[in-house]
Symmetry: C2
Subunit: 327 residues, 2 copies
């Protein structure tokens, strides 16, 4: 029997799908739900979806809504956690949406909002691959590359809430153009989007690759983590080369982060890391270790794949909510 | 009248010179001394020099040795502040020297040891250009490029004491070889050593420059900050181009640091910054602002030259000592 008002719901809002889970006071998952994100509607519609999903996932866990203490959300883009406002989330088509306030009106419980990568990193730190580390950096590789910094056990947001933008650190001055407008950001060299760009360029240049065929077979117009995994399994030469190059750049970016912050642990998260695990992280770790200034004790810095998969975000969201709720 | 036991001596140990100063309880400088570093002798000899210099600078301030509460030293290289040990300081020819313990035996007061760049950054934070900032990064450009991080008001050392190595963050994968063995570190692109390499290469390639003549006139075998300043005053085309390129790379490195850490303030220190001030920092700031991910409030991040000059190190050393001494 779960005591009343001790249940939290964590939600990860992605541009493609929403994922909600319910936890008890020990952060044990009681039920999980996933549904596609309907971004065609206005923000009010999507917020109503979140409210409905919260009620569904509580019911699916065999609980009553009166037991819900708070909801905590990881949202893509620029977020003001103090005010629960999503400032700019191009994946959702949102600009300045008071998500916290509006969802609270529907659910009548406290609602917390934080950046989606930050909640993922907080989840891996509290309950996943980074447990026990005082100082930790998370690097999440997906369509973009996001980051999060745990500093002395707490999420570090920076002066303007703009910290941990690992994806927009430049490792190749005058390199390829990034979505942010700059050149040579690690996101423009090693994200899934950058890898797809390089695979397509190689195919256009006449190289043989099964990637486009795999995408067609599976009805995908983008090179998903699943497609990458399948192409690597088939030993696709273009995919292998592009992946190797991305891992090399990621190793440099991780070395930069470690040379600056000297954390105990770097967690590599996101879909590719989840699917490929050590096959993805191993070569990144090798390059990183070679580029640490302090090589003699390089191995004291753990570089590991995330352990929580898609639950990292919603679990991190509830962990952060607990820190903000009165004891 | 200074009350007994309220006087601190701060010392900056450079490979070229030693600088010691005395402060009262309000960190006001009562006297300063500078002498060349005799690195030909063994570590014991240099430690005796430090003891003698401490006694001299106290006497020069009109004080008695009994009023000395502690000595605090900024040492070049890898330092263990907990144990007062200098592990590796190639500029001094030192490997594993228990500086704190040995100097304490001679002076019979507590001796604190910290990395020289860290004390410089702590000085600028507490008493110089970075006053009032909770989160600050210092970037010191000299023969190498060093860094220091102030996080939530305190110096941040990292898990292995290896944090803040701004100079060894890579901004040009496969760029020029750095002294650390890697390629494309900002130190290999924009330190005084890198600038001298580029100036000499241009001259060898037949370009006209007054730099070598200035060095000869002033009896210098290296391109010092003073030579750089003189060459720029004479509008030397090679020096101007090399400086502009170094500033561009430094702007990128500062942008990387800000995109990762989002500090309130970045202090640019070292000899060149001190001599050239805004002429040095202005173009760095411009490039950095253009490469911040959050450009709309770029100007909230102050990027400024250091204000304390050569006193930053010894003053930072005494500030750190005060935090470690019992109240």
């Amino acid at each position: 029997m779960v005591p009343a008002k001790d249940v939290l719901v964590g939600i990860d809002m992605g541009g493609t799908s929403l994922r909600a889970l319910v936890v008890n006071a020990r952060n044990e998952i009681l039920s999980v739900q996933k549904e596609p994100t309907n971004v065609a509607q206005k923000s009010d519609g999507l917020i109503r979806d979140l409210a409905g999903m919260t009620e569904d996932v509580i019911r699916a866990a065999g609980l009553r809504k009166s037991q819900l203490r708070a909801v905590s959300i990881g949202a893509p883009g620029a977020v003001d956690p103090e005010r629960g406002v999503v400032y700019h989330a191009p994946n959702l088509g949102w600009d300045v949406v008071p998500l916290g306030e509006n969802l609270k009106k529907l659910l009548r419980v406290p609602v917390f909002v934080e950046n989606d990568v930050n909640v993922g990193v907080a989840g891996e730190h509290a309950l996943g691959a980074g447990q026990g580390a005082q100082d930790l950096v998370g690097v999440f590789v997906g369509t973009g590359i996001g980051g999060g910094i745990i500093f002395r056990g707490e999420l570090y947001l920076g002066t303007r809430g703009a910290a941990a933008e690992v994806g927009h650190t430049i490792v190749q001055v005058d390199g390829p153009r990034c979505g942010c407008g700059n050149r040579g950001c690690i996101e423009a060299l090693a994200s899934r989007t950058a890898m797809e760009r390089d695979v397509r360029a190689a195919i256009r240049a006449g190289e043989k690759s099964c990637v486009l065929k795999l995408m067609e077979e599976r009805g995908k117009d983008r090179m998903t983590s699943n497609i990458i995994q399948r192409a690597l399994k088939k030993n696709d030469p273009v995919m292998r080369r592009v992946m190797k190059r991305a891992q090399y750049f990621l190793g440099m970016a991780v070395a930069n982060v470690v040379n600056l912050l000297d954390p105990e642990c770097v967690v590599m998260g996101g879909g590719i890391a989840e699917r490929l695990g050590e096959d993805f992280v191993g070569p990144i770790r090798k390059t990183a270790y070679e580029n640490f200034l302090r090589r003699h004790d390089a191995e004291r810095v753990r570089i590991v794949p995330g352990a929580l998969g898609d639950n990292a975000g919603p679990l991190g969201a509830v962990v952060l909510a607990r820190k903000r709720l009165p004891k």
